[in-house]
């Protein structure tokens, strides 16, 4: 069959927590569109232990929503009949297995260990511990752990590392091999005795060890390890001090992920056999979509997929592309690791209400314990979104290690980010963490949300029908939140930073003054296109212009409305938050209220009640006290 033969396509996205089933079909005049979607809890883990069960539930739900029969005798009806029943194909993405843990053994903590970490952070893998030569010499295998040690000896981890892998790195090509021999010997000593290892290997494969260090040491590494582990030799991740070469390591890790994690997901074999193309990983869809959009719009595109267990971020411009995948780093299971990595104070800085250390930590750990619970109060959402900001911060910092990260388009996908109760909340999370500067010709940064979680599935869809993938991406996945102006420079707090004039197609004009130090929202209808003229104050610049220089849209280059409207972020760059609580809380509340992310009443309800006052002496004890009016 050719791609045009695949018209009605069922797409499944199996995440760690949720599984979505989406029906895509031709609608109207040969346009591929999202027809319906359903979502259920992922069923990969006990007691269900079959990832396809949630997909089946989803298909039944789609049948009820669309009135179409998609199954027959418990199986998908393929191909679609002339009566419109059934589908032509089924494709899937799957990240239900979580991330592959990787123990990094490095000669030193600086350059080569950092390269190893970057290699691991390009896939669903997590460098959960880095052990250097110094630690190996201080804690040789089987030695008595130091009483001051605050974590398990590194060698105890090796025996129980399944599924997992060891990444051994160090040394530029041609350098000294002795340190690598020492590391390899230490690793060999940390392995279980041969008899026990052979017993284990009946039920699980030998420990994979990827060596990506000094090429000259490969023979030595083979001598020490070849007969004891599943040794894989790849090109040096750091062949010279100035060069970094991560692709070979990543390819090897990707293969391991497929074998040790994906293939072990309960029901994965059944899922793969049902799919018409290889099951994809969601970050591949994110990367494909980002690169496509960058080429399509000729812009810098920055996209985030903030999941329960992991987070992916991709930046693309022209042919250039960078990607980071943070395993065990999300808004569900991954929340505890966010606390560990980013620290409590960084999370607290985004909370517009007083909270003790214990309250924040207890809340985060409870969420990690029960990741499927949903936020039901304003306090919950603010805590969740504070964590989300730090996740985005971490992702941006990691991308910046690979090169400059500008953004003309910022895209959010993943439930906790793209499906916040109000789109303004999504905008504020992105603005606070990404802090775009709008330094481009138009002076505008457009924010988008993928409300249906379609972007990760685009990769799978594109393998069968690239037209369908691009159509669904452009028409259904991307919901414009709004264009954003970012005045830069400095004026007095509260003074007018910019004066904006919007001219609508019906000749209606709207003028707005945006004060410095504030976020201003100018709602205008989704679908509307307007001419915009912006007059910045002296000392304030927009886009690529100089201070005070006018910015104006030209004919054919109007700005489009979105779910939020025009966003003017005149808080300055970088964002500065007061160090102390009362002014910081007040400022955050001001921003959240001005941006319409939260209402004044919602924010006021978070404040602790004032201390009780004694009743006045002239009120008799038995008289009821009238409650205060709200």
């Amino acid at each position: 069959m050719t791609s045009t033969d695949f018209r009605a396509i069922l797409v499944a996205d199996c995440g760690v927590e949720h599984t979505r089933a989406t029906l895509v079909d031709i609608v109207g005049e040969n346009e591929y569109r999202l027809v319906a979607q359903s979502e259920f809890a992922t069923t990969a883990e006990p007691p269900y232990s079959n990832v396809t069960l949630a997909i089946q539930q989803g298909v039944v739900d789609l049948e009820q929503r669309t009135g179409r029969q998609l199954q027959e005798d418990g199986r998908l009806r393929i191909p679609q009949g002339r009566d419109g029943q059934g589908v032509d194909a089924f494709v899937a993405t799957c990240s239900a297995g979580g991330a592959l843990p990787v123990l990094v053994l490095a000669v030193t903590a600086d350059i080569t260990a950092q390269s190893a970490r970057r290699a691991v952070e390009g896939l669903y893998a997590v460098p959960f511990r880095t052990v250097t030569m110094e630690e190996v010499l201080k804690n040789p295998p089987l030695g008595k752990p130091s009483a001051e040690a605050d974590q398990s000896p590194w060698w105890q981890i090796v025996e129980s590392l399944y599924p997992g892998a060891v990444l051994l790195v160090g040394g530029v090509d041609g350098g000294n091999v002795a340190p690598l021999r020492t590391l390899a010997q230490a690793l060999a000593e940390a392995l279980p005795p041969e008899a026990a290892r052979l017993e284990q290997e009946v039920t699980r494969p030998a420990l994979p060890v990827i060596y990506a260090g000094n090429h000259k040491a490969q023979e030595v590494i083979q001598e020490e390890l070849a007969e004891r582990v599943d040794l894989r030799l790849v090109d040096n991740a750091r062949p010279t001090m100035r060069e970094e070469f991560l692709l070979p390591v990543r390819q090897e890790l990707a293969g391991l992920y497929e074998d040790l994690v994906q293939q072990q997901v309960s029901g994965y074999e059944e899922l793969a056999s049902l799919a018409h193309s290889p099951v994809q990983l969601p970050y591949m869809g994110l990367q494909l979509a980002t690169r496509f959009l960058a080429a399509h719009h000729q812009q810098q595109v920055l996209a985030f997929d903030l999941g329960s267990g992991s987070t992916a971020a991709v930046w693309a411009e022209g042919e250039a592309c960078s990607r980071v995948v943070l395993g065990h780093f999300g808004l569900g299971y991954g929340m505890a690791r966010v606390l560990a990595q980013r620290g409590l104070e960084r999370i607290r800085r985004w909370l517009p209400f007083p909270a003790t250390d214990g309250e924040i930590r207890d809340w985060i750990l409870n969420r990690s314990l029960r990741p499927r619970t949903v936020s039901t109060t304003v306090r919950d959402f603010l805590l969740q979104q504070a964590v989300a900001r730090e996740i985005l911060f971490e992702a941006v910092e990691k991308l910046q290690e690979q090169g400059p990260v500008g953004s003309d388009m910022v895209i959010a996908t993943g439930g906790g980010l793209a499906r916040a109760p109000r789109p303004e909340q999504t905008v504020m999370m992105l603005l606070d963490a990404v802090q775009p500067t709008g330094e481009n010709a138009s002076g505008v940064v457009n924010f988008y949300a993928d409300h249906y979680g379609l972007i990760p599935s685009v990769g799978a869809l594109a393998t069968l029908n690239p037209d369908a993938a691009s159509c669904v991406l452009l028409k259904d996945a991307l919901s414009l939140l709004g264009p954003c102006l970012v005045p830069r420079g400095r004026v007095r707090q509260g003074a007018t930073a910019v004066k904006v004039e919007l001219q609508f197609p019906n000749q209606l004009r709207q003028e707005v003054e945006a004060p410095w130090g504030q976020v201003t929202i100018v709602p205008f209808l989704w679908g509307d296109q307007v001419h915009m003229t912006v007059r910045p104050a002296r000392g304030v610049r927009l886009g690529l212009g100089r201070g005070g220089e006018l910015l104006s849209t030209s004919e054919g280059d109007m700005i489009h409305g979105g779910r939020v409207g025009l966003i003017i972020d005149a808080r300055g760059r970088p964002l500065e938050l007061p160090a102390n609580d009362p002014p910081r809380l007040a400022l955050l509340q001001e921003w959240l209220e001005a941006s319409q992310a939260y209402t004044l009443e919602e924010l006021a309800a978070l404040q602790p009640p004032p201390p009780l006052e004694e009743a006045p002496a002239d009120v008799a004890e038995d008289q009821p006290v009238e409650p205060e009016a709200d």
Binding site: A41, E45, P46, P47, S49, G98, L103, V126, L142, P145, A149, D150, Q151, S152, P153, S160, Y162, P163, G164, Q185, E189, P193, E194, A195, A196, E199, Q264, S266, H328, Y333, G334, A336, R337, L339, A340, Q341, L344, G358, R361, D362, W363, L365, N366, S368, L369, R370, R372, T373, V374, S375, T376, T377, V378, D380, F381, P421, R422, Q425, Y598, T599
Partner: protein
């Protein structure tokens, strides 16, 4: 629907069939037969586990050239040595001697690299019955399956290996905090039932008194961190493999097993769990605090109270799936109501807006204080057995 447990069993189960498999890491000997009755801690299987060989850089220690080592070794390959035996003797005028630092089998495998390896004798490994019950299956040389009717309570998280002991109520109400002065010498070797939170001081006192286990409603992160000796936030980085909570990075064994039923913070134990546990005060119980949050080995801590005299015919069949339905007793998992229990009285057809407009499918839950609240289905957990299907 929330499913945080590896079986379909409700969180609080007054009567169920508990089945536990004890496996040997290597082929060995299973000591019991199908039909045998076993007691907790009774050895049911054993094997020998090879010890790790230890390498000694003998050439370096003696200060000799690597190529000189082979000529100086006076013990043959694969021969047993005792601690203190002379293994290497080099030199004539100034003799240098290397003695075996431990007993074991000597290996020349790495002689050419300047190392000698001594592998101690294999170690005995024993599996003990975790619960009182009957053997229902044996896999020769590998495993044994033990089953018993029991009352069971599943926890949110915990730590510590299986412990057996007699249940004792240390508090009288599920809201009571377990304080150090509530523990005394009578607490030794028992499994204590607390109510609300427990602090680090009480945990330390429990260790001092050799209490085997504690079951509490909650614990603050601060108390747990203090007791475990964690440095701070960095220790909550979920472990490499098993999302173990708390992370097994401390590198020491705990002489105490803890099961927390509700979660972090200062919450009372849910009423049905407290009532069930305290109703069996004086009975033997098994506590297992091990917790892995994600993956095929997923497990949550549990308390098992064997009821060997119960009639298996009275055990309700295990539900094929966790079902929320009208009349089902549930535990609320929302942060502001964590641990509260209620009864589902209905399912509104439409989505319900909560907390700044987020819309969810909800159940209407009747609380003991008379309130009816709307709770997202994701924030409910079936609490008790006997719930009706939807």
């Amino acid at each position: 629907m929330t499913v945080y447990y590896s079986t379909f069993k409700p969180v609080v189960n007054p009567l169920t069939m508990v089945t536990q498999v004890q496996e040997l890491p290597m082929a060995g000997e299973v000591l019991k037969r199908v039909g045998n009755r076993v007691e907790p801690d009774e050895i049911v299987a054993r094997t020998l586990v090879p010890a790790r060989g230890q390498r000694f850089a003998v050439a370096r220690e003696l200060g000799i050239a690597i190529k000189s080592l082979a000529a100086g070794v006076v013990v043959e390959d694969e021969v047993d040595v005792k601690e203190g035996d002379v293994v290497v003797r080099v030199g004539r005028l100034r003799q240098r001697i290397w003695r075996a630092p431990l007993a074991g089998t000597l290996s020349h495998a790495e002689l050419e690299q300047g190392y000698l390896v001594i592998t101690p004798d294999s170690e005995n490994y024993e599996r003990r019955a975790p619960i009182k019950g009957f053997v229902i299956a044996v896999e020769p040389y590998r495993s044994i399956t033990i089953q018993t009717p029991a009352a069971m309570v599943q926890g949110a998280f915990g730590f510590g290996l299986e412990q057996h002991g007699v249940l004792r109520a240390a508090v009288t109400d599920e809201e009571d905090e377990l304080l150090p002065d509530m523990l005394d010498e009578r607490s030794a070797l028992s499994i204590l039932i607390g109510g609300g939170p427990v602090g680090a001081a009480a945990l330390a006192r429990a260790v001092e008194l050799r209490v085997r286990g504690l079951i509490v409603g909650s614990i603050t992160e601060e108390a747990l961190r203090t007791f475990l000796g964690y440095r701070g936030d960095v220790d909550w980085a979920v472990g490499g493999n098993g999302w173990d909570m708390p992370p097994a990075t401390v590198g020491r064994d705990f002489p105490l097993t803890l099961v927390v039923t509700e979660g972090f913070g200062r919450r009372p134990m849910n009423g049905p769990a407290f009532e069930l546990l305290t109703s069996y005060a004086g009975s033997e119980a098994t506590l297992d605090g091990q917790t892995w949050l994600h993956g095929p080995e997923r497990r949550r801590p549990q308390v098992i109270i064997p009821l060997t005299r119960a009639d298996p015919a009275e055990i309700p069949p295990e539900e094929e799936s966790e079902r929320l339905g009208v009349g089902v007793s549930v535990r609320l998992l929302s942060d502001e109501r964590l641990g509260q229990v209620g009864l589902i009285v209905g399912f509104p057809r439409r989505m319900w807006a909560l907390g700044c407009g987020a819309r969810y499918r909800v159940a209407e839950v009747h609380l003991p204080d008379g309130q009816n609240v709307m709770v997202p289905l994701e924030n409910l957990e079936v609490l008790g057995a006997g719930g009706k299907g939807r």
